[in-house]
């Protein structure tokens, strides 16, 4: 059990990287506290798996430090770090039975028979594998195999952390939720730091207390699912989390307002001042579709727009309107009023975000 800390960590697969693009992991600092359930979320190719492999010790980072409980482990092997890792595709030892698979890590540690037996049965029960213990691992279904490979991680009681590298990808959708709940339960039962790598925001937010969102080799935001939704720290977070993603409009700042195409939208004065001080030319206004208000009648400060498209997604609808050539999406619930033709748009001030150079401008 351990707190995992990354200090000015960076990694490149090239021998002499020069441009930032050469780095799979750009310099970062990060902390995962002991006992937490974390998710590492991001699109494919953002460096999630690389980061995971660095933590587990399968990869040695080009620079920076990996600290477990404050102790540097950079040059310790995965075995010495005492972490468990579960891979995207189930890795089982085909020729062994389920029992032997689960016992394998313990036998390698030289535990005595009774301990092994007790522990294996405990884990098998937790994973609902008890009836399969004597079967050949090769004959199991894909999700049972994945359970076995998770079990091999859990079976060592003193592991520092369990790292899960998209373990649910190959699992049948109908079993996914079951396995995810099992994971969650195991986490509570054994109180181990767990880091789940995934590209599925739903999986991440149902599993984790805190989600670290990665983009282009960097963690752009680390927070609770709610924080990621309500306060996206980076335009990518806004775009990646939520469906559909956040609306972004390129704006310029004048007179306490964000202006685009001759229209102006008032923003919070404190944020405005901060943003102006940054003096960036890349300024964006962002608002989640969930927070966009639609009105039938003209209102003070509301924008006059035309509905271009309505998508019915069952329990809610996505309305696309056009504001001076800019499409903006709004989400309305099932029994809300459905606009057609002309509609008036307003943005509630607390949900209106300003982004300078893609990063959130935030008054503390």
């Amino acid at each position: 059990m351990a707190e995992i800390k990354l200090a000015s960590l960076a990694h490149s697969y090239q021998t002499s990287p020069s441009a930032p693009e050469d780095y799979a992991i750009r310099q970062m600092d990060h902390v995962w506290e002991q006992g937490g359930a974390y998710a590492l979320l991001g699109p494919s190719g953002c460096g999630k798996s690389t980061l995971l492999n660095i933590i587990s010790g399968l990869l040695i980072p080009s620079s920076g430090h990996v600290l477990f409980d404050g102790k540097e482990v950079n040059h310790l092997s995965p075995a010495e770090r005492n972490v468990a890792q579960v891979f995207q595709f189930p890795v089982v030892y085909d020729t062994m039975t389920v029992y032997d698979n689960l016992a394998f890590p313990l036998r390698n540690l030289g535990k005595d028979k009774a301990t092994i037996d007790k522990r294996v049965r405990e884990i098998a029960a937790a994973l609902e594998l008890d009836s399969d213990l004597l079967r050949k691992a090769n004959n199991l279904s894909a999700d049972d195999k994945q359970k076995v490979s998770m079990g091999r991680g859990l079976v060592r009681d003193e592991v520092s952390a369990i790292l899960l590298d998209e373990p649910l990808t190959v699992i049948d959708p109908s079993l996914k939720w079951k396995l995810r709940r099992q994971l969650k339960r195991l986490h509570q039962q054994f109180d181990i730091t767990m880091v789940l790598v995934t590209h599925d925001q739903l999986e991440a937010s149902t599993f984790a207390d805190k989600i670290a969102l990665m983009y282009q080799g960097q963690i752009v935001q680390n927070g609770t699912p709610q924080e990621l939704f309500e306060q996206p720290a980076h335009t990518f977070v806004g775009y990646f989390i939520g469906s559909p993603g956040m609306n972004f409009i390129e704006v310029s700042l004048h007179d306490g307002c964000a202006c685009f195409a001759g229209l102006s939208v008032p923003v919070e004065p404190a944020t405005y001042d901060l943003a102006v001080n940054l003096g960036s030319s890349n300024m964006k206004l962002g608002i989640r579709p969930e927070f966009v208000r639609l009105h039938e009648q003209s209102q003070a400060g509301a924008l006059d727009t035309l509905v271009t498209n309505i998508e019915d997604l069952g329990s809610y609808k996505i309305v696309t309107v056009e504001v001076a050539g800019q499409p903006i999406k709004a989400r309305i619930e099932e029994d809300d009023w459905v606009p057609t033709g002309r509609v008036y748009l307003s943005f509630p001030l607390p949900w209106l975000k300003l982004y300078a150079d893609e990063y959130l401008v935030k008054a503390v």
């Binding site: 587990s56 399968l58 995965p78 075995a79 890795v91 030892y93 394998f104 890590p105």
Partner: protein
């Protein structure tokens, strides 16, 4: 696995292959059966003898000896080449220029005409002009493959190892390369020892290619002819006279067509039974997958 469709017309696609192979296989086979029950020198001098040749051949110690020698040789070949081939494959780099180079060097012995293989070792092993022969002699070994039966047998064995281990190694190499990296990573995390990685990850994944390797090596070693023929001519004595050699000597050397044919059939039946067992094993394994 592809789900196959029932279609009898597919037989037409097989026809050319069938005709070509049947021409060279069925007609000679029938001829041998005909020969085997006659005392025959040429077609006009043939006398029906019934099953006499079979009785004679089955009782002939010469043939029994060469059969025993053959099994001994094939077993030795498998016992040496399979582990050695696996070892070489394990030691090879997995990718890059060096791997390509290894592959090419490994493949070289396989592409040398079999009689030239014999020639190479004939030259290499001679004490007067050969590197290996003279090296062994100067180290104090009394080595002469032309006069000492044990030396001859060992030389043929080493030659076969030299010639064919590459095949096993290349098969295993391709098998090893097909193992996903995650298996090794998982093993590392489970603190598996090097031996455990081999025993529980690599060996199980090599099962399929190993069956092919054993099958090919058994069959080819069972029909070994040209290499010992050039190297030792089957001698000294009969120490390196294997089945094919005995047979060729009988049929062409002594023109004992009848007994040679009977012997061929027995030889063929042995091959047929062994191949069938292997073939069934392979298809059975495919089915399990």
């Amino acid at each position: 696995m592809i789900v196959k469709i029932k279609n009898q017309k597919a037989l037409w696609l097989i026809l050319p292959v069938f005709v070509l192979v049947a021409f060279s296989s069925l007609i000679p086979l029938m001829t041998i059966v005909n020969y085997s029950i006659q005392d025959i020198f040429d077609v006009n001098n043939a006398y029906y003898v019934g099953t006499d040749w079979f009785r004679e051949v089955l009782a002939d110690p010469r043939l029994r000896d060469s059969l025993v020698r053959q099994f001994g040789f094939s077993a030795s070949v498998l016992l040496i080449e399979i582990p050695l081939g696996i070892g070489v494959a394990l030691m090879m780099p997995k990718s890059g220029r060096l791997a390509s180079l290894c592959l090419v060097v490994l493949a070289v012995p396989l592409l040398i005409p079999w009689n030239v293989v014999g020639t190479i070792w004939q030259i290499y092993g001679r004490a007067d002009i050969g590197l290996m022969g003279s090296a062994l002699t100067s180290m104090g070994f009394d080595y002469n493959y032309a006069s000492d039966p044990v030396d001859a047998w060992l030389t043929v064995l080493v030659m076969d190892v030299w010639h064919w281990t590459s095949l096993v190694a290349l098969l295993c190499f391709s098998g090893l390369r097909a193992i996903p990296a995650a298996y090794y990573q998982a093993a590392q995390i489970d603190r598996a020892s090097g031996w455990s990685v081999f025993r529980y990850i690599q060996l199980p994944k090599l099962k399929n290619v190993l069956v092919i390797a054993i099958l090919l090596r058994f069959m080819d070693s069972f029909m070994i002819y040209a290499e010992p023929f050039v190297l030792t001519g089957g001698g000294p004595g009969n120490s390196t006279t294997f089945l094919s050699q005995t047979l060729t000597k009988m049929a062409i050397g002594q023109f004992d067509l009848g007994p040679a044919a009977a012997f061929s059939l027995i030889y063929f039946l042995i091959i047929l039974a062994v191949s069938y067992v292997f073939f069934t094993t392979i298809t059975q394994m495919d089915k399990e997958r």
